[in-house]
Symmetry: D2
Subunit: 243 residues, 4 copies
C-alpha cells in the first residue's frame, strides 16, 4: 500500500511503553493495538520502538539511577537515554480492576524520577516531546487509565496532541480480550471502527505535533524556564499582594 | 512593569470558565487564581474573558441547543459562538469532596455536546485550540480534577501544552481558602511558589502553543479528518485481519 | 414469583438518585437498571423511591438550605428530610466523557452540604446508612464513576457493602444504550450476566448491611463521635510527638 | 494510658499493606501514619501486622501463584494465607504524581488475582472482611488514591466502614513529608487535627464493622452466592425482557 501522504516524518523517534503484566514471549493484547499505531509511523519513516516493561530489569523507585540508592541492577538509565532522544512517548497497557497496571505505574514513576532534569534552555527535559496513550482491557476503564497517563505526560512537560487516547474494551463483564480469536475465526475488536479511527487519529496527531515542535526547536523558551524562575525572573507574573 | 518579552501574542483569544458554586457578586477563590494567569495574557495583547458558569442561564444537557430539546432558555449557543473564536480554553473551578464541581461538569457536558461539529477541513471543531486548567480548594484534589478537565479537552480535540495544570490547595483538612485574608494580613496561598510558577508556566505555554497552532493554521489536515474517515479513507491504517 | 427468602427487610427505606440529564417524561436508560434493583427490594418490603434529580428544583451550592444563601427556591431541604429517614442511598446516573454527570455531582454536593450535621450520638448524620451505585453508559467508565460515588458516600459516613457497584456499558465507541430496542426486538444489555449478577448482589448486600446496622442501632458510638473529639476526647489515639 | 472502652476486639486480625517505594531499613513516611492506627488496634487486642510490599519477593501478575506461570519465586501465596485469616485489610502507601504507587497497584493486582476463590457459602472469599486506606504524600492526592484503593476493596467483597480513608498531605508543592523533623524540632503533620481524627475514626470503624461481621458470621448468604448464581438461582432478580 502506498503512503497516503507526501508529509515527511523521517527523523522522528517514538517509544511505546507496554505495561502488560505478561512476560515475553507470551503474547500481549496491548501489543496488537500498539502495532496498528506503530505500523502507520513505520510507513512514514518514524523510528519506532516498543519496550515491554516487564521484560526489563527496571528497578522500582523515584531516582534517575536506583543503583545509587541500593538497587543491585537497574536498566532504567540505559532506557532513559533512548527516552531523551525520543520525540514521541506513548504509554500503553492493560486495565486491571479499572485502573492502570503496576508496570504502567512503574514507568510513570521512573519518568517522573527524571523530571528534575533541565534542557539547554532551562526548561524541563521533556519539553519538546509529545505524548499519547493506548489501553486495552476486556471490560471498562480506557478513559480512566488515559486520564492518568496523559495527565502524567503533560505534567512532566510533554505536549498532548488532539485526541491522543485510544483503546479497546468489550461489553462490560468478562469476555474475549482484544485480538482473541473468536468462534467464527475473526478477532475480537479488530473491526471496531471507534478503536481503529481513534488509534489512527492519535497516531497522525502525534506525528504532526512532534514534527511541528521539532521545526520550532521545541517550546519557545520564554516564561517556562525553571532555571530562570529559580534565579528570580518572574515573566510578567505579579504577586497580587504587592500590586 | 514592562513586558518581559518581544513575543507578540495579539490576535489570540482566551476564555476561562470558572466553575465556582458561588454566584456573583460574591467573590470566588478561583477567580483570584484566574486573574494571575489572565493578567499575564492581558499584558501580551491576548483578548481574555472569564465566564462564571453559575451566573449564566446555561441549560443542562448534551445537545448544542437545549431549546430544541425542551429547555425554555439556554445561553449556551451564544457562549459557544465565543468558544468557536477562542484559541485558548481554560477550565477552572473549585474542588468539592475531591472532585470537580457540578458547574465544571456542566461546561464539559456542553462543550462535549458540540463535539460532533467539524471544521472546514473535516476535523473536529476544537482542533487548533489549546486547553489548560486552574483549580483551587482548601485541602486535596488539584491533580484529580485536572486529570479530568485536561483529559476532556484533549479528547474533544484541543492540544494540551506542557504543564497545563496549576492550582492551590492547603494542608489536608479544613482551613483557609485561596486568597483568604489571614491574621497577619497576608493572603492564603499568594506566596506559594509552586502555584505561582505553575500558573505562570501554564499561561506562557498556552500562549506559545496557541500561537504556534495559529501560525500553522491549526493541526495539519492529514490522518485526522472525521469526514474523510467516514467516507472510507483510512490514512495508512490497515486492519490486521486483512493484512 | 415467590420471594426466594424468609429474610424480612420490611421497615427499611431506600432512595435511588438518578442523575440522568434527561427530564421526565422522557425515558432514562439508567432508570431501567434502577428498576431491576428496586423491584428486588420492593418484593422484600423495602420502602423504595427514585428521585430523578433534574426533575426537581434543587439549588446548586454547598449549604443545607440555599434559600438562606440567595436562592429563590430550593427543594433540597424537603428531599433531605427523606434522606434522613433512608437506610439505603444509591447514587445512579449516566456517564459523559467517562465521568459522572453534572446532576450526579449536584446531589453529591448537596449531600456533602449536610455532612456537618450530627446524630444523637455525636456521629456524622449519615452513620448507620449504607450506600451503593448504579451507572449506565454506552461505552466506558462504570468503575471510574462508581469510584467517585462510593468514595463520596463512605466519606460522608455510609457503610459500603461488598460489591456495591453495578452497571452496564457496551463495547467501546458509540452504540446502543442500555435497554435500547435492537433490530431483533431484544433490548441492549438486558441479557448481560455480569450486569444482572452484580445488580442483584449489590441489592442484596445493601439490604443485608442496612438490616444489620439497623439491628445494631447504627455504628457503635465509640471512637467516632465528632462532638466528643471536638471536646477533647481522643479514643486511645496518641500523638506520637508526645509519646 | 488506659483503654478508653470496654469494647472487646480481641480475636480480630488486621493487615496493613504499605506500598512505599523505599525498602527497609530505610524509614517510610507512610509507616508513621500506619503506626497511629495500628497502636489503637494493638491496645484493643487486635492482632496486627504491617507488610511493606517492596521488602517481599512478590511476583507481578494476575494469578494466585505466579510460580505456576513462569515466575521462579513468589511470596504471595504465603502472604495470601494471612490475608485469608485477616478480618481487616488496610491498603496504605505514598502518592506519586497524584496517584497510587506501583507497589500499591501490585498488591491490588494480587488480591484481585484471588478474587475468583469462594468461601464455604459460595460467596467471594473476601466477604466478611472490612477494608480501609491510609495515604501520605507531600502535596496532593489522598482522595484520588483512596477512591481507587477503597473501590478495589469493596469490588473484591470487603465492607467499607464509614470514613475509612485517612491521610496527610501538606500545602501544594514540594515540601516536608509526613513526620519529617522541622526546624523547630516538631514533626510535619503530627499536629494535623484532620489527619489524627480521620485516622482514629477509620480505625475504630474498621474494628466495629469487623466485629459486627464476625458476630454475624460474615455477610448473610442470600442473594450473593456466586456458586448458586452460576447454578441458575436468580434471587428474585427478574430479567425485564421476560416479565
Amino acid at each position: 500500500m502506498a503512503k497516503s501522504s507526501k508529509l515527511n516524518f523521517s527523523g522522528l523517534r517514538a517509544i511505546y511503553f507496554n505495561g502488560t503484566l505478561t512476560k515475553s514471549p507470551e503474547p500481549s493484547h496491548t501489543d496488537l493495538l500498539i502495532n496498528l499505531s506503530k505500523s502507520i509511523m513505520d510507513k512514514h519513516g518514524v523510528n519506532t520502538e516498543v519496550i515491554r516493561t516487564i521484560d526489563h530489569d527496571i528497578a522500582t523507585g523515584v531516582y534517575p539511577d536506583m543503583r545509587e540508592h541500593g538497587a543491585k541492577t537497574d536498566e532504567w538509565p540505559k532506557i532513559y537515554k533512548r527516552v531523551e532522544q525520543a520525540n514521541i512517548l506513548v504509554i500503553c497497557g492493560p486495565i486491571w480492576l479499572g485502573d492502570n497496571s503496576s508496570m504502567t505505574k512503574k514507568i510513570i514513576e521512573r519518568l517522573y524520577a527524571c523530571s528534575g532534569l533541565l534542557n539547554k534552555n532551562g526548561q524541563y527535559a521533556y519539553y519538546g516531546k509529545v505524548g499519547g496513550s493506548l489501553i486495552t482491557g476486556n471490560e471498562d476503564g480506557v478513559k480512566h487509565c488515559t486520564m492518568n497517563t496523559l495527565y502524567s505526560l503533560q505534567h512532566l512537560g510533554c505536549v498532548i496532541p488532539p485526541q491522543a487516547d485510544a483503546g479497546w474494551i468489550g461489553e462490560v463483564g468478562p469476555g474475549a480480550s482484544y485480538g482473541d480469536i473468536l468462534e467464527d475465526g475473526s478477532r475480537e475488536g479488530f473491526d471496531n471502527d471507534f478503536t481503529n479511527r481513534n488509534t489512527t487519529f492519535m497516531t497522525w496527531n502525534l506525528m504532526h505535533l512532534a514534527k511541528m515542535l521539532k521545526a520550532n526547536d521545541g517550546i519557545p523558551a520564554q516564561g517556562n524556564q525553571r532555571s530562570k524562575w529559580d534565579a528570580g525572573e518572574r515573566f510578567d507574573f505579579e504577586n497580587p499582594e504587592y500590586r
